[in-house]
Symmetry: C2
């Protein structure tokens, strides 16, 4: 019943906002480009007959009235922000498939029992402002608004200030807004569905993830005249630590992952021994107990390296998102929808974080995955087949109607 | 005969231009701050009765006429630019001691046989624009002006453009200007003089140094959903390489040094496996043969790491400044001056590069070192004792007069 060409058209149309030469999108949260895609989305939802509201975190809610508007809305949410090397599908497919569901319901004059809300959550990526899933986190009561507003990007701009600047700091408070359910369609961002030839991933949960910030303090000195034994080289120390973080993941194979994604070295001059380094660590595992052990091992390894190298070290855990198990009824609704549509499917745990991981704390929640080429995501070459995306949107529509019936 | 208080006063006065909270100076070449200190220097030299000219590389020549102005000038040159974490003495002492020599000669009504020229060489540091000693290099015919103008900082601004912007692209061509001698006073930037309790280093040469740029290409991917074996993590590869570069230096202890001073990782986002990394290598050794072996070992180690990690690698040598031996007559003049003034001295080879290393190709050249605290340089805490700096300036004056006599 979904209009696949129309859905694909909106994906390709909005992909122009922040398009990169390599075919991806760079549309960091709360930038002018984010404002542009938000304006587009708001206009499209208004044209589809929705009431659009914005909350204090910039989350956008497009509401299509139901038969009984005292019922809690069924939400379809994801995000329109991207990574610096983002693809055309991560998050975007979830929001635009939501819009397509609204349009399809309109086309067929379907009146649902409950209202339907399509949501664009602010700063899911966590690239410009850490942590990820910040605004769904506030919605779910994990963070408060003051904490969120105080987050700073690497240039020192505050989240609250940036939100104001693009004109998306809404009047409505964030949270305290009950949802009957929350369903999110997303590309898998991993290799499993493609490898097994499945069209639909019925997502049962999300693995645990923790973020850390590490600051090393050595001493700047001359690269030509400082003998090797007299150096306190913060970048050399960081190099040993990056290797150690990788070892922690390998020690918990095959499920653990560990990544140093961001590094800044100072003064970053060719002929100065680096005096200080800031870097981040991302540790993940489906089992929170193993994740805690990975943290302890990382902490131990880094402190040993710092000690041996004469470096000061400050290591702070800045984010802890425990493993999540999705709502059994919602999962069953997605499974029924996939089966009814005749798509090959499998249960799957998400390696990536999603707004649904936080919304699951305050509403029955699940997700639908579709394959992406080689599992590649956070990469400009990220690709999903149109037929898979359309299948996912179709399962989304069916699942929403299924939940609406019950 | 030098006025130590006056010399120290000029050092502290100009140290305000680009002063950092930690007591150092950040006055990168061709910035507005560099323009300010150049304007100050030009005015001071004009007030001291000099004719000031600027060449096409922005090198500033302050000429005090001699008895016979057909004689080649005796030059006193160093630099007023600094590192991002620069100190108050590196380079600055050499230029301002030159000014103090001019003022002292004026005070005593001394007429030299040859003219004296005090020179501020542009971009000695090589921090904003690689390589170091760029403009003394053009003067000496090592580089041509077109090559120099095309150098870019990490934001892509060209050297020629930046020089124009601060108004210091002079009419006079760079080079083809014969010098009778070139003497440079500088802090040692290393620990030897202090450790041995010597006031004066009689510099016999400069060690060899080579710079490299390395670009690694992996693949951006999702930090949460990309299994460890499927990653091509450019930063992890760089980490192993930084450790390997350090090993190359240790394998040629005690004289070799090796430094990775600058690194840029892309997209530099906490939850993206780094897709590409750019970093620099600085290798040095007093023996060019050993330096060549260090290069070969580095190249081999880096290619092996890249191969094992599935990373593309481009490694380019962007600078090669071979070991330099200074002019025996100039060295002898400095030794005589140190002895006559009664300063404890020793022969020393410079670990740092200096404009004198290039000027030595076109004029009889040497340097005078004075100790700096703990050998620390390229650090905001860089410190030299006033008495040592004054002693160095005194030796400089004596050496210049000695050379002028011969
Ligand atoms: N889906 C997605 O890419 N989320 C970003 C948050 C994370 O998993 O790091
Ligand atoms: N003297 C000095 O610090 N020069 C910078 C060039 C270098 O040695 O790297």
């Amino acid at each position: 019943a979904i209009d696949g060409d129309r859905l694909w058209g909106t994906i390709m149309e909005t992909a122009r906002i922040g398009a990169t030469p390599k075919g991806g999108i760079c549309r960091l949260t709360l930038t002018d480009l984010d404002r542009q895609v938000r304006d587009w989305f708001r206009a499209a939802c208004t044209a589809a007959g929705c009431t659009v509201t914005v909350d204090a975190m910039g989350n956008i809610f497009a509401r299509r009235a139901g038969r009984d508007n005292s019922l809690k809305p069924i939400a379809i949410g994801s995000h329109l922000d991207t990574q610096p090397t983002g693809g055309k599908y991560d998050g975007i497919v979830g929001v635009l498939a939501g819009l397509e569901v609204l349009r399809t319901l309109n086309d067929h004059g379907v009146e649902t029992n409950a209202p339907i809300e399509v949501i664009d959550w602010t700063n899911e990526e966590g690239s410009r402002f850490a942590p990820a899933m910040l605004s769904s986190g506030v919605f779910a009561g994990v963070f408060d608004t003051a904490y969120a507003y105080a987050r700073q990007d690497r240039d020192g701009q505050g989240f609250g200030e940036a939100l104001d600047r693009i004109g998306y700091k809404g009047d409505r408070p964030c949270g305290g807004h009950a949802l009957g359910a929350h369903i999110e369609l997303h590309i898998e961002q991993g290799p499993i569905l493609e490898a097994e030839g499945k069209t639909i991933g019925v997502v049962t949960g999300v693995q645990g993830m923790r973020w850390y910030e590490v600051t090393l303090t050595g001493a700047e000195s001359h690269a030509g005249s400082t003998p090797m034994p007299l150096r306190r080289d913060a970048l050399l120390g960081a190099a040993h630590m990056i290797a150690a973080v990788n070892q922690v993941a390998l020690a918990h194979a095959p499920d653990a992952v560990a990544t140093v994604g961001l590094i800044e070295s100072r003064p970053n001059s060719r002929n100065v021994v680096p005096g200080s380094v800031f870097f981040t660590i991302d540790l993940r595992h489906p089992d929170d107990g193993v994740l805690a052990r990975m943290e302890a091992e990382t902490d131990r390894a880094l402190r040993a390296i710092a000690g041996a190298a004469g470096l000061g070290i400050a290591m702070e855990r800045v984010w802890d998102s425990p493993a999540v198990r999705f709502d059994a009824d919602c999962v069953a609704a997605v499974q029924r929808a996939a089966d009814a549509a005749g798509h090959a499917s499998r249960r799957i745990v998400s390696g990536a974080g999603h707004d649904s991981a936080y919304i699951a704390r305050v509403a029955p929640t699940t997700m639908i995955f579709v394959p992406c080429e080689k599992g590649l995501s956070h990469n400009e070459a990220e690709h999903a087949e149109k037929s898979d995306v359309v299948a996912g949107a179709d399962v989304l529509l069916r699942a929403v109607l299924d939940i609406d019936q019950r």
